[in-house]
């Protein structure tokens, strides 16, 4: 399958604090932190629960859907891999079914497509199987 952006951008370093998330995306699942002490969802990954200070943070699969909280469409290439590529769309997606945490990804759309705050979107898992180590990004598309 094609990717939202051209190859050559930095890969995510799949650090220990975030490993269950990256393992989840490889399996096509959206898995985020959920505190075993108070039940709060938390994103991005952190070592402590910001609400109750428990270090016992579990991980839970959440519904791979949300709504657009905000967006941007960069034109200026910020990395050599983007030279000559043209505009692309980044969205901040709120997950109402997971404590309203927010995630950043690309919106899969034409570079001139209107983007609407509040629009419902669903996750698209984008594997990078040839990377070493392989990883999967979470992209978004407007629900049809």
């Amino acid at each position: 399958m094609s990717t939202a952006l051209p190859p050559g951008l930095p890969a995510p370093a799949q650090e220990p604090v975030a490993k269950p998330y990256w393992d989840g995306t490889r399996a096509g699942k959206l898995v985020i932190q959920r505190c075993k002490g108070c039940g709060a969802h938390q994103w991005g990954p952190e070592w402590v629960c910001h609400r109750c200070h428990s270090f016992d943070l579990g991980w839970e699969e959440v519904a791979p859907r949300g709504r657009i909280w905000s967006w941007q469409r960069p034109h200026h290439p910020v990395h050599p891999a983007l030279n000559g590529h043209g505009p692309y769309t980044i969205v901040l997606v709120e997950l109402p079914e997971a404590g309203n945490v927010r995630m950043v990804g690309n919106l899969i759309c034409e570079p001139t497509a209107p983007v609407e705050i509040g629009a419902e979107v669903e996750a698209v898992f984008e594997p990078h199987d040839d990377a070493e180590p392989p990883y999967t990004l979470v992209q978004w598309r407007v629900k049809g």
Binding site: P10, P12, A13, A18, Q72, H75, M103
Partner: protein, 394 residues
């Protein structure tokens, strides 16, 4: 218990800066620029640089206090301080930290400064060349979100969309800075005016609210101020400029990872502005001139709103060019040209301009200015702001 405050306790006795250059064009090394600005501030204050006993900076300034102290032959270093956070979020905090050191007796004469030579070192506008992104960046870089403009763009989109504020409001902010720079020979954009047509025709950096002229330049140079106890300032050559109020920090979880700050469409000033006004015993209506740090014009809007200068419901009507110009606008702003058009000295140039306005020596002087607010770099966290005033405001 006596009131814990810095109001009226310290003064800025001297200001200094180097020539300002386009990025990469300084003939001098960054450290030399820092020295030049510091010596200029001392000369302005009539103080021997060897009497300086402290340094405060921000934005991970590379000109370290101990190296400065050695180079300047300073007899005794009593205070060295680096404020966390990138960019200009800490510009007012550096002055505040210098002030706290002076008022507490830890030091007597402290320099707050910023030095930048981006030809010698890396620029900000492009992402770092890394193979694998770590920390928050792991969830941002692979999606092509790497530069400061991009880091802040979605805050601005959210706020502007929510409140129906038009891009024209941001254009006025950009044009005010350029307008003032045309009367300021120090300004990098001196002789390069910005018209409405030129702004509207400029290329997109990031849709929907960052055209080229909404974004700050990157520059080389250095700026410095010298902070002393209020009593001492009275005996020095210039009319003292007193610190009336200052605050730094961020509101609830403003640095929550991966764009999860609960109050997202924010410059992160709500608590900082409240605390600053409380210390100053003043409010936005008392201010004669505003210096509002522009990293991006959208951030200026958020900053003005959170400090109470602009009501989002009337922002479209209020943020028109004539309201922002010295000497007669309702809210003269960025009167030296600011980061956009004087120099991107991470806001230190705005502290210097605030002092000039209060001395009555600014290029675009606002008549009888008594109170000037300096709003530090918005949308980063921690942020910081300060209010300065003349003796009449004490």
């Amino acid at each position: 218990m006596s009131e814990r405050t810095l109001r009226g306790k310290v003064a800025i006795a001297g200001i200094g800066e180097t020539a300002y250059y386009k990025h990469g064009q300084s003939p001098d090394a960054e450290f030399k620029l820092a020295l030049q600005a510091i010596i200029a501030a001392c000369r302005d204050a009539g103080i021997d640089p060897k009497e300086v006993d402290g340094f405060a900076s921000y934005g991970n300034d590379r000109s370290e206090a101990v190296r400065l102290a050695a180079a300047l032959g300073i007899k005794e270093l009593r205070f060295s301080n680096m404020h966390w956070g990138g960019g200009g979020g800490g510009v007012a905090a550096s002055v505040a930290n210098a002030a706290a050191a002076v008022h507490s007796g830890m030091a007597n004469c402290v320099i707050a400064f910023r030095s930048l030579a981006q030809g010698q070192f890396a620029r900000y506008g492009r992402g770092a060349a890394v193979a694998a992104a770590v920390g928050d960046d792991a969830f941002l870089f692979p999606y092509g979100l790497m530069s400061p403009a991009q880091r802040f763009a979605m805050k601005i989109t959210r706020f502007m969309t929510e409140h129906g504020i038009r891009h024209e409001a941001l254009r006025s902010i950009a044009m005010a800075s350029y307008h003032h720079a045309q009367n300021n020979p120090r300004a990098v954009m001196y002789g390069r005016p910005l018209t409405q047509e030129k702004y509207d025709a400029s290329r997109w950096i990031v849709e929907p609210f960052h055209r080229l002229f909404d974004c700050c330049q990157e520059n080389d140079g250095a700026g410095a101020v010298i902070v002393v106890p209020a009593d001492r300032a009275k005996d020095l050559p210039h009319k003292p400029t007193y610190l009336l109020g200052t605050a730094q920090g961020g509101h609830h979880r403003s640095a929550a990872p991966v764009h999860n700050a609960p109050d997202y469409g924010s410059a992160h000033f709500p608590t900082v502005a409240r605390n600053m006004w409380a210390m100053a015993k003043l409010g936005p209506h008392d201010v004669d001139v505003v210096q509002a740090y522009e990293n991006f014009t959208g951030g200026v809007l958020l900053s003005l709103v959170e400090h109470g200068f602009v009501d989002p419901t009337t922002a479209n009507e209020f943020l028109v060019l004539e309201n922002l110009l010295a000497p007669t606008g309702r809210m003269p702003m960025n009167t030296s040209g600011g980061n956009l058009a004087e120099c991107y000295m991470h806001g230190l140039e705005m502290v210097n301009e605030a002092v000039r306005q209060l001395r009555g020596t600014a290029n675009n002087q606002v008549p009888d200015a008594e109170v000037v607010a300096v709003l530090g770099g918005p949308m980063v966290t921690p942020v910081s702001s300060l209010v300065l005033g003349t003796e009449a405001t004490l």
